[in-house]
């Protein structure tokens, strides 16, 4: 009967303990989520006086809207680019640092620092470096014959936001890759070395497959980061421009809702964001529960 007993008196105590959490969740999660769902099915008339039920019309309109489709593809390119860059750079650094002994701690401190910097501030730093007029990188690129201008070139702008967003996240990925590398038994690698496998081959056939749980976990975290946590980077560097080339979904919700003051039309966009988040959360939990391994 150990498990069934009531450990505390008072039937209402547990509910009272959950109270504060439930109230905040209701106000700042359930209610807004419900509002978004509800409003996404309505359309207001031109004067905002009445609204009527339009079913999924807001969604079909959204998916035939060129600027929204553009924003979807921009977000995909941005998220994939940021994830690839930050993870490959982090893996490279982690592999290098894992071989070091004496300076490992100093090196780790140095590499972890950018994680302490807000995305908005990372954006300011990189904007400064890539500034077409006074920045040091455009100055260097000019010498090799490339005119960098992220204010007119969409490609340059995308590259800038990807670099700035990835830079901060490399620190986080680095820590996880380093921990992953350190948990790989050295005997496996030595056995392969005795069998005559080259260092490159050892990495791709032994180390990398054993890192897959870490890699998959980080992939989801990085995609979520790139999609939802990089508003500050974009706001500080390109503000979605030029010609919407860096207008990600979250930035678009902000720009439509607060700059364009079109609060009603953004509900369907919020619902789509929520769906993406729930799908990613689900994927995340699948990988946390039973991590991929070969």
């Amino acid at each position: 009967m150990q498990t069934k007993r009531m450990t505390f008196p008072g039937r209402w105590l547990p509910y009272a303990l959950l109270g504060p959490q439930v109230i905040v969740t209701l106000i700042f999660f359930i209610w807004p989520a419900g509002q978004a769902l509800y409003q996404s099915l309505l359309r207001e008339d031109a004067f905002g006086l009445s609204s009527n039920f339009v079913g999924l019309a807001n969604f079909t309109r959204l998916f035939s809207d060129g600027s929204y489709l553009n924003s979807l593809s921009v977000t995909a390119v941005f998220a994939i680019g940021t994830t690839l860059l930050s993870m490959s750079a982090a893996l490279l650094l982690a592999v290098t640092v894992n071989r070091m002994l004496r300076s490992r701690n100093a090196y780790t401190t140095l590499l972890v620092w950018p994680y302490a910097i807000a995305p908005a501030i990372a954006g300011v730093l990189w904007w400064f470096i890539f500034n077409p007029a006074i920045g040091i990188v455009p100055y260097a690129l000019e010498m090799v014959g490339y005119r960098w201008n992220h204010r007119t070139s969409g490609g340059d702008a995308m590259l800038l936001v990807v670099i700035a967003a990835a830079w901060k996240q490399i620190a986080y990925n680095f820590l996880f890759f380093l921990a992953g590398l350190q948990s790989i038994p050295q005997s496996l690698i030595e056995a392969a070395a005795i069998d005559g496998a080259s260092p490159t081959k050892r990495f791709w056939t032994i180390v990398f497959p054993l890192l897959t749980p870490t890699t998959f976990f980080l992939m989801v975290v990085n995609i979520v980061y790139a999609m939802f946590d990089t508003f500050g980077v974009i706001h500080a560097t390109t503000q979605g421009g030029p010609a919407q080339a860096t207008n990600t979904l979250v930035y678009k919700v902000y720009a439509d809702g607060f700059v364009g003051l079109n609060l009603g039309a953004s509900a369907a966009q919020s619902v789509i964001l929520m769906v993406i988040v729930v799908v990613l959360t689900f994927v995340q939990f699948r990988f946390i529960e039973r991590r991929v391994n070969y």
Binding site: T25, I30, A118, V124
Partner: protein, 281 residues
């Protein structure tokens, strides 16, 4: 992984470590940290030396003085400080109570409630920003520090972590405390909370760095100096159209990141541990 095997393996690899590789690693690290170094350079030198790297360029603190004068950084610091301490303390209280209830009480419908918490793990206010703004404004929370922090108080992540920790604490300790005559409050405060200290530290550090750096929600919900935190204040200050001198912006940038960078340096091991432990941000 045990510390001894780790060291042993590191020592083995160190034997074949050529000097070249270490040099390359440091070179990579310097490219990596370059944006920070560049900001340091620009902040401590007169504006003329921004793209002229002369070893003997005169050092100056004028940029910091200018930044401090041109924007109300003292106020921004105070706001961020109030925000971060308020959020973390409120999260500790709310998440401790909820985590305790989830871990130790037989509540009907507990699984459904807990699922609700888990879904929230990723749906942070950024996703429902327009709807949350409408609610904040109808509650009169716009442009207040409470308004910036309140949506984050019922942190799903904190509840999840504390519930897991509380579940590992042996029931016998609780029974012993009850025999001594402790009520639920005393049991929570004297048995559960002290034993969960590492979790509080880990969660607290993650939460501090997150809220110190948070940008979108504070930007949306504040519109004056009285409530703006540092990140938003710096964003307003360094916006390209304001035409502020870049040396000054660099100094301002350093001012706003310095406290967290120093904290990272002091608590590096704890920060690293807490990121690895917590898994999610």
């Amino acid at each position: 992984m045990s510390q001894t095997t780790l060291n042993a393996s590191a020592r083995r690899t160190a034997l074949r470590l050529p000097g070249l590789e270490t040099t390359a690693a440091w070179l990579l690290a310097i490219i990596w940290i370059f944006p920070l170094l560049y900001a340091l350079w620009a902040a401590f030198h007169p504006p003329e030396f921004m793209v002229r790297f002369e070893l003997l360029a005169p050092l100056t603190l004028d940029n910091f003085a200018n930044a401090w004068e041109q924007a109300p950084f003292a106020r921004y610091y105070l706001n961020t400080f109030l925000l971060v301490t308020g959020v973390v303390l409120a999260q500790f209280v709310v998440c401790t109570l909820a985590g305790f209830a989830f871990a130790r009480f037989p509540i009907p419908g507990k699984d459904i409630l807990f699922m609700l918490v888990l879904i929230q793990l990723f749906v942070f206010p950024e996703v429902l920003i327009v709807e949350n703004y409408q609610i904040a404004s109808s509650l009169g929370l716009v442009n207040t520090i409470t308004g910036i922090g309140l949506p984050y108080v019922a942190s799903a992540f904190g509840i999840f972590l504390l519930r897991q920790t509380f579940k590992t604490i042996p029931r016998e300790l609780e029974d012993a405390a009850r025999i001594e005559g402790c009520g639920w409050m005393a049991i929570l405060m004297k048995v559960y909370v002290p034993l969960a200290r590492p979790t509080y530290l880990a969660y607290g550090l993650v939460s501090i760095s997150h809220h110190w750096n948070n940008f979108l929600w504070p930007l949306v919900v504040t519109n004056s100096v009285e409530s703006r935190p540092l990140t938003v204040g710096l964003g307003v200050f360094s916006a390209p159209e304001t035409g502020v001198n870049w040396a000054t912006v660099s100094a301002a940038t350093l001012l706003s990141i310095a406290p967290l960078l120093i904290a990272f340096l002091l608590f590096q091991r704890q920060f690293v541990q807490s990121f690895l432990r917590s898994g999610i941000r």
